[in-house]
Amino acid sequence: MLLLQIATAGIATGSVYALIAIGIVLIYKCSGVVNFGQGGYAMLGAYAAYALARAGLSPPLAAAGAVLVLGVVGALTELLVLRRMLRAPVVAVMMVTLGLLILFRAVCLAVWGPDQIAFPQIFPQGAVQIAGIFITYNYVAAALLSLVLSLAFLAFYRFTPMGLMQRAAADNSRAALAVGIHVSNQVSVAWAVSSALAGLGGVLLATLNGLSLTLSNIGLVAFPVIVLGGLTSLMGSLVAGLLLGMLEAFTDGLLTPALESFLRAHTSIYSVGALQQVVPYMLVGGMLLVRPQGIFGQRGTERV
């Protein structure tokens, strides 16, 4: 029973991780850029939805509007910043996305202030009882939406011509160019889609946790997901996102209590602290040593 409860809690958070991680993978696949700033786009999306709702749109419409706005922001990022950095070293590209994250946070701080803001209700209030846990409609909707969207993206990449072009651009940009695919446009599209996804993820998170600048932390929280799932695998992000959510929940619900009761009985250590926070990164460390391409990723050229 307890196991089932913990798993339920884990899936709910894990599905949001997956949504953020898929966005990061989308960009990486297409352009080789790892977006450390994905959390910033999520935060921007949530604030945009809040602003639109304040301006008089109904909350669901505001959410949809925010997703569109973020799509534009993503495309602009690619056009104005990333396109100029095609030949830049990996480090520089990583840092530029971090710089954007810092910039976005500062903009939100300047416009909306540092306080926690109550986010407009998008989903009806109420809860369903699953395995003895009352899961609010917010969570149900967030989890379902994440799962459906993730699967939709998988289908899009596999079955549509646009998806094929994207994959071609990602696979081998020179060959794609040779067969007449406009690669840089494909990259712009990937950025737009990825940012829109992040924006949606941010809106969903804000319905769950309220709105504040800390929302942007989700990018780094979800980061282990893409390493575990494999930087190049959308399916991997989905699976690893759910796994990571569950792993955190099980760490909190089972591992930490067991470890602490053992340590309290046998040593002078009383608490292991927020173990849940580092377990994913410890896993990342191990994974990088054993299988850097992740569970689902393809073996790349990165290993020496």
Binding site: L2, Q5, I6, A9, G10, A12, T13, L109, G113, P114, D115, Q116, A118, Q125, A127, G132, I133, F134, I135, T136, L205, L208, N209, G210, S212, T214, N217, I218, V221, E248, A249, F250, T251, D252, G253, P257, Y270, S271, V272, G273, A274, Q276, Q277
Partner: protein
Amino acid sequence: MKRHSSRVPAILAALAFALPAAADVNVCVWGTITGPDAGVNGMSYGTVDYLNYLNQTQGGIAGQKIHVILLDGRYKLDEELKIYRRCVDQENAVVVKGWSTGSAKALREQVQQDAVPFISETFSSEVLDPAKYPYLFIQGATYEQQMLIGLRAAKAAGAKKVMLMHGDVEYGRAPVTVVRKSGAIEKMGLELVDTIEFRYDAQDLTAQLLRVKAKNPDVVYIQASTPQALVILRDAAKVGLPAKLFIGNMYNIHPSIPEQLGAAAEGFRAIQLYANYGDDVPAMKEIAAYKAKNQVEKEDLYFMKGWFGGKFIAAAIGNAIKKSGGKPPADIKAFRKAVRDEMVALKNLDSGGIAPPCSFANHQGPTQARMAEIKGGKYVAVGSWVDAQ
């Protein structure tokens, strides 16, 4: 003022060389205007606003205009240490009001060497030692005292099993460890069944609350801030634990808790050290008068704490000026020492009803607190002021 007319090169030069002393009585306050705990920055705004209120209505303190400067420590230790040096070295502040627990700890010895009255927003017992740190003051019951007041109230209501939850930050773990190791909970006749530490920016604590549910405590005390209390109460509702099981500290009195959680917050209690903004107390009239002409940034309990801090500072400076014959001592060192002595000598400080009358001989002022409970979407004081002693 002269230096305000200068341009960039002059400013850059000023970075390197001390500015000349200003003629006013200088008070230097720093808070968090941009940073993770900016939500409670009413504590610094309140102090600045009260001193400006005195400037506007009474021409300052004892006839002396107060030059009060507000800076942004960003809740970053290096920034706060830099600001402290500016306050003492460049602004010639007679009183410095700082912010974080970390900065109070890092500065506690330097404050003695500089012999400058230093008030911190922290409630940590680790900086409260009148013998060792005669120039360091806090304002109110320590976190440990707040915890014991809360648990005592729970005990009076028949609780037996206690659980503690706290964030993985200084202000979460340290007080909980002090209380746990002191054995005070057991002395009270309560049993501590478990302690849970969680990450401070936690977005989901369902699994932790399942752990709480499994231990079946009669009361859970939360040592964390508003965002964490929000997550805890929300996820408590998920696993079927009522909000009335939980007691929070003084940072958990925040309108966003009932606003965002609605019915799931009903019955949640928190420790209240200062009157709420808008309560029927004399100080509120002053605030209303100030607000009529100025902008008040934060209308909340923390602003009240700040206003209280302003009154504390003003009372001590006023007494010091009066004693030296109506003029502040010319020597800043003598002035600082005089103010510090007057702080300790304050008896029955009247804060206009924000806190019960108190003295600062203990370097912490009021040690009373009362419980506030969320009823009908609002915090309502339940019971009267209880002393921590």
